[in-house]
Amino acid sequence: MSASLLPAPSADARLRYVLRLADTSLILGQRLAEWVGHAPALEEDLGLANIALDLIGQARLLLSYAGELEGRGRSEDDLAFLRDAPQFLNLTLVEQPNGDFGRTLVRQLLVSAWQLELFEALQGCADARLAEIAAKALKETRYHLRYSASWIVRLGDGTAESHARVQNALDELWQFTGELFAEDEVDAAMLAAGIAPSAAPLKASWLARIDAVLAEATLIRPADSVFPWHGRGGVHTEHLGYMLAEMQFLQRAYPGAQW
């Protein structure tokens, strides 16, 4: 269907949709950056930092776009550093603490596989700006998925200890994956406008990717949780506030400070 025949979503729906993507990349990037100087090996330290920088780069493009959509003159920095937790619309999954290296990579696998499917769909969507950002992010995401999947296979199919740790992390984090495919009025408006992909086929492709990795890693996929998390609606777990306190401290204490 040609984009011009589709109803334009309300400015608010588009803004919220872009903010959800932006905040998800930003918060996950910030989480990964916590590993810098602490990873099990220098090579992994750089690997995680590279992914963190990719994600923060995506967040910058998306936040700038969100600032323009909002039309109140807020920059990417204003949006990143001067909003409080309830105004962040990231997935609940990405704000979960790093835990050990295995848990960080379980979270990464779940998110990267989802971002891959999503960006693949968005690169041809009716919003040209979003399509452009998705096309760029897609290449980065392919590597993130390769990296995390490769580690999950090594750890899952590794020692009894590493297997137990990643299975345990998967069991704990799986409850947050329902939100990846939840559909509310924002998603419905963006779907109707030919921008957001429909959730059901997205979930099927995501699950196929995840199942393939889990099978090779000899891990068992946990049962779906019925509890609905609402990070995308601004309702967060307690972890986000602590993260933001650290991330935003400098701009809050010294407004407008620059390097």
Binding site: G37, P40, A41, L42, E43, E44, L46, G47, S150
Partner: protein, 95 residues
Amino acid sequence: MTAPDWPLFEVFIRARSGLEHKHAGSLHAVDARMALEHARDVYTRRLEGVSIWVVRSSEIAASDPLDADAFFEPARDKIYRHPTFYAIPEEVKNL
């Protein structure tokens, strides 16, 4: 950060198509696949390359520094092995 008990790999990067792979450094990894990923993360962050080779350092046979005299000294006085040693006659074209 503790150094993991992983074998050492040597990394070779090709900067552009058509150029040769050049030694870039070394890193630790469990196997070749991980070494390629590590090499990508450690040595190509600033667009240094378009292709990577990795090889386990233990697979490389190296000349012994103690053999340096026997290996390399004899070449020192053979200046006639350099093309610049020879004067090219005016009459010779296309050399």
